[in-house]
Structures are given as structure tokens and as C-alpha cells.
Point group: C2
Chain length 481, copies 2
Amino acid sequence: MLDDEEGRDFDKSDNHNYEIERQLTEEFSLMREGSTTLLVPSESLQTKVPPRTPAFFNPAAKLSRDISTLVYSSFIRLNGCLFKKVPITLADAFSGVGARSIRVANEIPTVDKVILNDLNPVAITAAKKSAMTNGVEEKCLFSRKDVHVFLNERRSIKKERYVIVDLDPFGSPSPYADSLVRAVTDGGLISVTATDTAVLFGKYPKVCWRKYYSKPINCTYSNEIAVRILISFLGLIAGRMDLSIEPVFAHSHRHYSRVYVRVHVSSNEANKLVDNLGYITHCFDCGDRRCHPLVFPSPPPLSCCICGGGNNNDSKKKLSVAGPLWVKPIFSKQLISDILCIDGNNYGAKSDDFLNRVGGHAPAPEDHNSDPMLDNHKIGVSNSKGSLLSLSPSSDDSVQVPYQKYFRQIFQLLHTAGLELDDQPYYYTIDEVGSAMRTSPPPMNSILEQINQGGFRISRTSFRPTGFKTNASMEEIKKLL
Amino acid sequence: MLDDEEGRDFDKSDNHNYEIERQLTEEFSLMREGSTTLLVPSESLQTKVPPRTPAFFNPAAKLSRDISTLVYSSFIRLNGCLFKKVPITLADAFSGVGARSIRVANEIPTVDKVILNDLNPVAITAAKKSAMTNGVEEKCLFSRKDVHVFLNERRSIKKERYVIVDLDPFGSPSPYADSLVRAVTDGGLISVTATDTAVLFGKYPKVCWRKYYSKPINCTYSNEIAVRILISFLGLIAGRMDLSIEPVFAHSHRHYSRVYVRVHVSSNEANKLVDNLGYITHCFDCGDRRCHPLVFPSPPPLSCCICGGGNNNDSKKKLSVAGPLWVKPIFSKQLISDILCIDGNNYGAKSDDFLNRVGGHAPAPEDHNSDPMLDNHKIGVSNSKGSLLSLSPSSDDSVQVPYQKYFRQIFQLLHTAGLELDDQPYYYTIDEVGSAMRTSPPPMNSILEQINQGGFRISRTSFRPTGFKTNASMEEIKKLL
């Protein structure tokens, strides 16, 4: 365990060492997450909104960290051979107490080096102690620099960019995105968390346009729009540096959106970014939603092609436009299959292996029922022949032990994403369909079956348990049900 | 003269010191520009395209450096009181041999400190020697860092951003823009040069969209569109960091576009960026051009309101769209008046004082006739009462001494900009008007007078000597002439 040699050696220069030690002794506790022991602020385990001092730690982000560990691990399995001549490094730009990156160091043996950066000396000292507790101190470097200096220095001084870079700031990642894409190596992976949900979900469209160069809509599928705006934004930033992007995974959970994106050095591919972007028009009158290509700066249509609703101030007939946003696939099915230990052509479930990988420990109390959206979640998808597979969780999956319910949720999230029609940037909900038909919401299974029998593609969506994706329009859905 | 303490002390660590000294002795020459002596590569003074090794120096960019000195100097005179508690610093992110920044150190006494950064040890050593030659070594700091580290470190470590930051890279400034706006203090000034003219002038619209988030048009006024795209782009980058921008000056000369923009810390103002942006539609059939507000992502019109030309593939009737770009004023008339020693309400000319400021030396041979666009350039503008002032250069201005012709050109550029209708983002040329009327191009004075008498606003433009700006449409212009 070494301080980054370029960084300030705060162990020697910081006069508050004694105070830091006192805080760590009196105000921090050890807790277990995954198969890792973490030193975290005690108060963060007791309050609903974790405090920012003496250091920030959010127990509820366990799902995000569990998925990180799975995605990083699979990414290295699938692409590690590309980085044979360099060590597999992961940089955590805002590491805090190191919850994510100490877990990576401890739980992913294929990661050679983890570099944690945070300005907060208390957080970094806690992370050091966690590294020692888990015996991974030799794998870890610690740095306390301005995030931009941290992300930019490596590429220039050591001619070595990081293989994986994580960016999980307070609020919007927008101000850091440029430095982020510069920090990652060709073919490497960036993972980004955005917690400015109100902005990305359409409450402050002007701020969203300023921060992400895109207009959101506040509607039933805002969480998917948010993720696609975030990916499009990363593509716009990368393009300026002659880099192209390739989305790998994304999810939106409670108050954050999180995306995993590969970055490739290629100005030719970067020029094709425009082909991956588009607009969504959503008619708040008839519920029709459509995707339109982006022919910059040509426009999406101004009125609904079904009911004639226009994007004027007439609130009864309103066509809203979201975008530009990423309208092409956002999930690497290969990566998801790999995570689930499932052959890409034959979806199934080997939950034992999966459970071993996320660690067989009891989750924190917050984890119980942590995401009702994902609960009681059956998988449905149209297979390549067009017939419907509707899978109840198998006996392997429907583990009855309460603390394993959480792992089933992760499994279902990934499984649904693996089967999702992610080339379609929006979904419908059963409530919307019921409302459009002026009936009670139809059962999901009946919707899946009837739309599929009508000759349309259909799948569930990982973004909402009551949502489904189909290439049928709202008009066609109503006719079929 | 000190190396930046955070930088590598290349004087000691670099093994090629002897080789650098040899190069400076054998391959460099002293030359004079402004009132400053510069050590520059001899070959750059002899060839048309200056070589990049052993260091880059472009004698033809003298105009750009002369204007820089004038703008920086005036900016400090007008706003220096805002920075009373901090030294007036200028950072030159890609300093090369220091032609711009050593001139600033030598010619602007109000600048307290100049910080030069370049990775090339030969260039930086030459800059050091130039600083000593001019006796300004105490005012200069030298650094040899990656440009992003250089621009980001100051704000975090010393809590002191620069008052003025210049960015003059090879090619596009786009990849560096985020670090640039972070480096400048609240209310400070950034100056940016773009030499990727083919991209900004519309030859590669896809690359322009990727680099500047805007679509250019290849047309008669592409040079003004380029400048306005560059300003809009800086606004889009600044907005993400809760910063707003205020254009101060801009010019486009030969193969570069250059803009001067103030940066303010204000997320409220940043949210208003959209009000300053818009589209230009240009009909290649009837020559009609119009400005449209940006209501993101709402569109500009799809067909010409005059002749019905649409933006389809029919080359005969073609409506092209440029934007989003900055459609509001781009010149600080106060700053230009200050430079010209002219009261803002009473345009006139005190060329003696002006000539003293840019230095009364003979320009390099390249400077003679260096910009035919600016030659024989008379000033015309509609005053606040609507009547036309058509000013021939006064006896003071029309200096007959050949080497003073160059200063008259700068004077005319600034004078025209000071009187320009810069709230209109495009201009017409007399050739276009002649072509539209199927006659030979009408004389400029006759155009200025007749359009003004028709009740329209009209001015010359600093972007082209044969161009003029008016709120009359092409149809109205044709009727009036």
C-alpha cells in the first residue's frame, strides 16, 4: 500500500492525523458487504440519508456496487486479453471510504491495481484501513488530488491510461466527463453514476440541456430516458477527443442512474455517433411514443401522427420531444450472459454459481425489499422464432431463504436486461395501457402473449417490473388486447 | 524567472541540455515583433509553412498577437479593479517559443505574472532566453506539463485561477475547452484560436458537429459562422460547469478564427445560454438568409419562406441550416472604443496614440499586404438616429508611410468591428447582391446609402471588406438597389 508518488503524502504532512485517528476509532464501524469488510461512518448505517461528514457512505448503494463487481469482473474475463501488456487497473475518481474499489480489489482477483482518489483525508484513511483489513493493501494506491488532475495526469506522465475508471460524484457527473474519458485506455471501460435525478427525469429541462445537451421528458419511462441521455452525453464528450463509445450495461435504481460504457480510440467511429442518437416524441394526449433518427439539426415532427397533438401550449394535445439521446442497444448481451453463466443462445439460470459470485452473506437490513420494482418479477421475451417464452423463476432461483431474495433481484434485473428489446428506447406500462383502454390494467402475461401472437416483438424491461417493450404502437396494442 | 515549482525541473533532469543549447545557437535567430525581441527558429522566418521542429513559430500570426496585446491590455484597464486582491496573471497553455506571452509580459505593464506552458523543452528554453533578453524574467514562470494538468492544477492546489488564459493549439481547441474554462477566474478572459478552418467553414460538417456540437455551412459568410460556432461551443462547455460566457471580441483571418470571451461563475446566467443561441437558414437558391431562435430541440424551418427551397437533396432549391450558434453580439463596443482611445458615443480616430501602443517598428516583410481583405476599407454604419455615417479614413489614419499600412489595417479592423451590427449573425457581399440582381456588383457606398435611406440598419463587417450587414432581406435589398 503506497501513496501515489505524485500525490501529497498526507500521512506525514497532515497535522490532523490524530483527529482522523480519533474519528475513525469513535465514529466508524466495520461492516461487511459482498465478501469484503469495510470501515464506514457509523452514522451512515443508522440514518436514512447518510451524512457527508466525516465521510460519505451510502449503504443503499449496495446494489450498484454488487452490479459493478459483476460487470467489471465479466468485462475483464471477456476483454482482458486486449490488455495483456498493461496491468488491469481500476481508478476510482471519487472513492470516498473506498466501498466500491476496496470491494473490487478484494473480490476481483483479475484486477491488478486499484487507485483510489478522494480529497477527504478521513475517507482515504478509512479506505487504507479497509484495504489492510482485507489484506489487499499491496493492490491499492491512494491519492488525494483534485479529480481533474488525478484523471489527467496518468495519461501524460506515465503514458498509461486506466483500464477501468469509475466516476460516482455527488450530483451530476457532467463537469467531470471530459477528464473521465481522457483517463481510460483504448477499449477500456468507464462507469458513471448520476444522482441528479430531478434534472435527468425532466423536472428541470433547461438544466438538463445545459448539463447533458439533451431535453428530457417527465413521463412513465423517464428512468430509461435518463440513462439514454447519459450515454448520449458521454458519446458527445468522447467524440470531441476522437473517441467513440459502446454501451455495455445501464440501470436506474431509486435516486440514481448508472451506465457502463466502453471507450475506443477511433475518430471514424466517433463520426458515426450521430447514427446512434435520435429523438423520442411522446404524445401526452393519446399515449403514442415514437423514435426518430437525428439528422442534425433537422427536427423531430411537430405534431402527433396519430391524434394530431402538437407541441404547443395546449395542454390537452401535447407532443413532447426528448433528445437527442442514445436510441441504439445499451446492453452487451454477451456480457450479461457471461455474468449469468449462461450461453447467449440458451437463456437459463445457474443461480448457485451466480450466488457464489455476489457473495453468500446476509445483506444489510436496507436490502430487504430494497427494490419492490424488481420483486415478483417474471421473465418474458419473444425468442428468435417469434414464440413467447414466459419463464417463472425456476426452483433454483426462487430461493426461499429471506436474505437470498436480494440476489434473486439482481439475477432478475440482469436476466430481464439480457432478454430486453434494448434497441427500442422507451417502454409502456400496464397502467398506461389500462388507462388508454379505459379499463383496469390488463395482466402482464396476457399482454405479453397477445401482443406476441399479433406478430410483434415484445419483452419485459429491466427499468420497471410493470413495463414492457414492443414495436407495436399504442394504437396497435389497444386493438390487440 | 523560476520553473513552476510543481513542474519538472527540466534544466537539471533533461540530458539533452547540450543539444538544446546547440539548437538555440545554430537554428534560432533573434527577431523583433511589437516592442519585444524574440528568439525564434530561423527556418520559420524563411519558409511559407513554418516547421514544427525544433519549435513552432508562425510569423504570419503577428496580427493575432498584436490584437491579443491590445485586447488584454484594454481588458485589464476596464476590469482590473475586479481583480484587486489577486495578481493579474496570464497563462499561455500552448506557449511554444512564447511569442504571444513574452510580448504580453514585455508590452503590458499591468500584467503581473505570465505563466508559459509547453511540453517542448526547446520551445520553453527559447522562451526563457527571450524573457531574459527583454528583462521580464522576473515576471515569467515556465512549465512543461500536459496541458490538462497545467490548466487544472492551479484551481485546486493554489485556489487561484488565472485572470487571462490563452489557448492556441495545433488544430482544434475542442479537446482542451473544458480544462480551459476551469482554469480562468470569475470574470476573467479566455482567448481561443481554432485553425481547423476546413471543419468550421463547412467542409466536414460531421466533424464540426462532433467537435463543436454545431453544423456549419460552406457559404460566403462561413468565417463569421465559424467564429459564432466557436463562441457557442465555449458557452456549451462552460454551462456544464455552472459558468456563463460573454463574448468580447472575435476575428477570422486567413487560416484561423480567434475569439475572446469572458467567463462568469453563475448557473443562473448559464441557464440563459439558450437565449443567445440560434440557427441560420441559408437558401442557396434565392440567397435569402435568416436567423431563428433556438428552442431546443425544436427546429428551424424546413423550407425557404421566400422561394420555397427545402433542405432536401434537390440541389437547385436548397435550404441549408447552420447552428446552433451564437446569434447575439460578439463585440464589446466599450473595449473596442477603449482600444481605439475613442469615446463610445463619438467614434473618431486618434491614430497616433494607437500606433504608439502597437509599437512604431517596421513589420516583417510578411506583413505587407498581409490581409488584402482589410485594405482600402472604408467605414460605414447607421448611427442611433438611423442616418448614415460614411467615414473615409481621416488624414490621421491614411498614413502614407508603407510600414504603417499594417497598423492602419488593424485600426480599420477594430474600427469596423466597433461600428458593426454584430447582433446579426451573417452578412451579404456585394458580389452576391450583383449576382442576385444579374448585374455587376454595385459599389459599396451606393449599397450602404440606398439601404440606409430605405429605413434599414446597415453597417460594414469586419469579417470581409466587400461585406455588409443589414436587417433588410435579400428581397428587400434587391428592391432598394
